[in-house]
């Protein structure tokens, strides 16, 4: 295994970390409209991710930065090619972050309601668009011989990619619902389990369709294994949810995300961004990667930093392990 292969795996790990972690906090954002009945319940939801969402989001920045360093060509083609969708994601992440921090800082009804609306939409839109983006990455896009994306915005919105968007949206919402069931007490916990079942069933249908399509389109033996694991984990997560084993259910929905992302990357390799115009114009781990010297330095950095990050972020979850309900909310506007 050469360094650029290792880096392909590491980039996959960073994206997996991102989707696992921000997946549930996007999901929780969506649930503020789907599950919460009133403002205190919305606040309970928001506060389940309060201490952690910011750290979760850094997985995205790391995935972006590491792609820049390890596969500059990939970074350049991806972000200049998916310009407008990425703009939409950035705007959502900006507004969403500010919304969490500022929502409770004023007591006015309008103020709080507007930020709550922002939290919902700015969680839903990126949750959908990341799936569209990965659908396009795996499927391939119009890349010319200079590695420039030459398609338009319309070329990114084909059925396969849109289905990918539905998968991430529903899967993250399911992931968020089982997380909510794990982190709350009282009535909302019961309803979260009920909603998890419904969303989970929808997820199972769209995810199975999307993964089978991927397997038929670009799959191989290894991706088939990942597909089976993803589907089995999702079914098991649903069962665990029904049995009231919330920890198991959350862990298994996490496994679903891990396996699904793994499947996408396995069916992508050794490409990182295939060209639909000419296979020889595809970006691959070889022609898109940095020099061995840079990759070596980056390997040291990621090899030391990533386990440490997992350790102290894991510790954060342990510190905030207590379930919360409406009775635990501090007074508003402080």
């Amino acid at each position: 295994m050469e360094l650029h292969d290792i880096w392909f795996v590491l980039i996959a790990v960073l994206w997996t970390g991102y989707f696992f972690l921000e997946g549930f906090d996007f999901g929780v954002g969506v649930l503020t409209k789907l599950l919460a009945r009133d403002r205190p319940e919305k606040r309970v939801l928001i506060n389940t991710i309060g201490p952690v969402w910011d750290g979760n989001e850094v997985w995205l920045l790391s995935a972006g930065g590491a792609t820049f360093a390890a596969f500059p060509e990939w970074y350049a083609t991806l972000f200049s090619g998916f310009y407008l969708p990425l703009l939409a994601i950035l705007v959502c992440l900006i507004v969403r972050g500010v919304a969490f921090e500022y929502r409770a800082k004023r007591p006015e009804e309008n103020w709080q309601r507007n930020w709550e609306t922002a939290i919902f939409w700015c969680s839903l839109i990126p949750a959908f668009l990341w799936g569209v983006a990965f659908g396009n990455i795996v499927h391939g896009v119009k890349i010319d011989k200079n590695f420039e994306y030459v398609g338009g915005i319309g070329d990114l919105l084909h059925p396969y990619a849109l289905l990918g968007g539905l998968v991430t949206l529903t899967l993250f919402t399911f992931h968020g619902a089982v997380f909510t069931a794990l982190k709350t007490v009282g009535d909302i916990r019961e309803r979260a389990r009920g909603l998890a079942l419904k969303v989970g069933l929808v997820t199972a249908v769209v995810a199975l369709a999307f993964l089978l399509w991927t397997q038929a389109d670009t799959g191989n033996g290894r991706s088939l294994v990942a597909l089976v694991v993803a589907v089995a984990a999702l079914v098991a997560a649903l069962v665990a949810n029904q049995l009231g084993r919330e920890g198991w259910s959350f862990g298994l929905s996490g496994v679903t995300i891990v396996a699904a992302v793994a499947m996408l990357f396995l069916s992508l390799f050794p490409n990182v961004m295939p060209s639909t115009l000419d296979a020889s114009w595809s970006l691959t781990v070889t022609n898109a990667s940095s020099s061995p010297y840079t990759l070596k330095i980056m390997t040291w950095c990621a090899g030391i930093a990533t386990p440490l990050v997992l350790l102290y972020q894991g510790w954060t979850y342990w510190v905030f392990r207590k379930r919360i309900g409406t009775q635990h909310l501090a007074d508003a506007a402080h």
Binding site: A66, F68, P72, L84, I94, G97, K105, T294, D331
Partner: protein, 502 residues
């Protein structure tokens, strides 16, 4: 869509807008993290309540500010790929590494421990909670270092070679990138300016309350901390600015000649106080100068030769081929002056404040005040300022909080525009760096979206800051004074509300 603009023009405007905006929050975040951590340390060590009140007060303003810094920083991570894809392809092998280091080491630190600090008041024993804010502070400093090393590489590329076959620059010595004198002096200068910014912010806010005789105890402590920070950081900013200037005279003579509107080389060279010139013809029509000072700034010698804009332009034409290698001279010239002027103005106001509010030194008995009284502003021994001058000093002290922000912005505009036409000095020109596949229409949309969004958020943020500044330090609760003794919080009452929730 074709707007008859050079392809890089809109991308440059976007980078300028988003980056200057982002950097309004960065220096405050860096300095307020450390200052808040300092105040919390004082609370943990002395258990004096005024320190806890100050920690909570400044911590809140810090959080309102860092929220904006974090979210506007996300754009920075991606816009190289979006608008500057050819730049990313050409230098990614080098430039990407410090960015990835920043994310993997510094951002994770900052963002994880800030969550622990915000929500951890009733979940963590007090020393561990204190450690969290120090971790945030370390994260901000590391982050600054990595990104400044990356920028320094654009100012003065080192530790690389050009791979002709792949058409890109490749890293050969990462250590050189991290430790070259451009990176060291730029980090020194930027970090001291950041503390000048945070110090001035503290002085301004404390002066607002002291002028109204409100929250005197906490605000006196804050004023003192702010003034000391301003004076030390101001001094360091001047020293590091001088060091960085000398480095730049060697590495980018064009930038420094433009900063002085020095058209033709002179020996000795004067420092220009005011100049109005004709860029086309390459000379000044009006110039007010201090003889020899520029030679001294460039080389520590009042009679050294300093090359002018026209000389460097000719030299670069010989080296890099035909073209115009001059930056925008008026912007560079005035940017340099506004940076120094506003920065040093807040330093001077801080020096004055530290002298006027001195505690005991040369202060007669009748002008000394108690713990909870607003200090007299004592100019000479036995002579306090009259009521009118006192009002004016407090008023100017409030204004000073804006000065370093203005200075920082102009400093970046100066150093980045002074490097033009280069994106990477001597290696890659800005016009070669833009994304060829992104249309001007797309860039226009994103400029419009970011500008509108940032403008709205600026209004929201400033209003919120004003609200919490005016509200003053909070009353302390029982829970504040009795932090938990075990991690995860004390379990006495399962339904006890959180100390903080969104």
């Amino acid at each position: 869509m074709n707007l008859a603009l050079a392809p890089e023009t809109l991308a440059r405007w976007q980078f300028g807008i988003t980056t200057v905006y982002h950097f309004l929050f960065v220096p405050l975040t860096i300095s307020l993290a450390a200052l808040t951590a300092g105040l919390q340390t004082a609370w943990v060590r002395t258990e004096k309540e005024k320190y806890l009140r100050a920690t909570k007060f400044w911590g809140k303003l810090f959080l309102i500010n860092i929220a904006m810094g974090v979210v506007t920083g996300i754009v920075q991570e991606f816009q190289f790929g979006m608008n500057w894809s050819d730049y990313s392809r050409f230098v990614g092998d080098i430039f990407g590494a410090p960015l990835a280091f920043e994310a993997l080491i510094a951002f994770f630190f900052e963002s994880t421990f800030i969550g622990l600090w915000i929500f951890g008041w009733d979940k963590l024993p007090k020393r561990i909670h204190l450690a969290c804010i120090w971790m945030v502070s370390i994260g901000t400093l590391l982050s600054a270092y990595f990104i400044l090393a990356a920028n320094s590489w654009m100012q003065h590329p080192v530790g690389y070679r050009i791979d002709k076959a792949r058409g890109r620059a490749e890293l050969t010595d990462f250590w050189a990138v991290l430790t070259q004198n451009t990176a060291l002096s730029q980090a020194f200068h930027t970090l001291s300016a950041s503390f000048l910014t945070g110090g001035a912010f503290m002085v301004g806010v404390a002066a607002y309350h002291l002028a109204r005789k409100k929250h005197v105890g906490t605000m006196k402590t804050s004023l003192r901390l702010g003034l000391i920070t301003v004076v030390i950081a101001g001094m360091l900013t001047a020293i590091s600015g001088d060091t960085l200037g000398k480095v730049m005279f060697k590495q980018q003579p064009m930038k420094m000649a433009s900063a002085e509107a020095l058209w033709d080389g002179q020996k000795p060279a004067p420092f220009s106080i005011f100049a109005y010139g004709n860029v086309e013809k390459g000379h000044n029509t009006v110039a007010v100068e201090i003889p020899g000072l520029l030679s001294f700034l460039a080389d520590d010698n009042f009679s050294s030769y300093v090359p002018g804009i026209n000389d460097v332009n000719k030299a670069e034409q010989q080296k890099f081929g035909p073209g115009d290698y001059r930056p925008n001279i008026p912007v560079t010239f005035w940017g340099f002056r506004w940076m120094i002027g506003f920065g040093m103005a807040s330093f001077a106001i801080g020096m004055a404040g530290l002298w006027l509010t001195r505690k005991k030194f040369l202060l007669p008995q009748h002008l000394r005040v108690g713990e909870d009284e607003v200090p007299h502003l004592v100019l000479f021994k036995n002579k306090a300022l009259g009521p009118q001058l006192t009002t004016w000093y407090w008023r100017i002290a409030v204004w000073t909080l804006a000065f370093p922000l203005i200075a920082n912005s102009w400093g970046w505009i100066f150093t980045e525009m002074g490097r033009q036409p280069w994106a990477v000095y001597g290696v890659l020109q800005t016009r070669q760096a833009v994304s060829p596949g992104v249309s001007q229409g797309e860039v226009l949309i994103s400029i419009a979206v970011f500008t509108a969004l940032y403008a709205i958020l600026a209004v929201v943020e400033v209003k919120l800051l004003v609200k919490y500044v005016k509200a003053g330090p909070p009353e302390l609760t029982e829970a504040d004074l009795n932090p938990p003794t075990r991690i995860g919080g004390d379990l006495r009452d399962a339904d006890k509300p959180m100390a903080f929730s969104y």
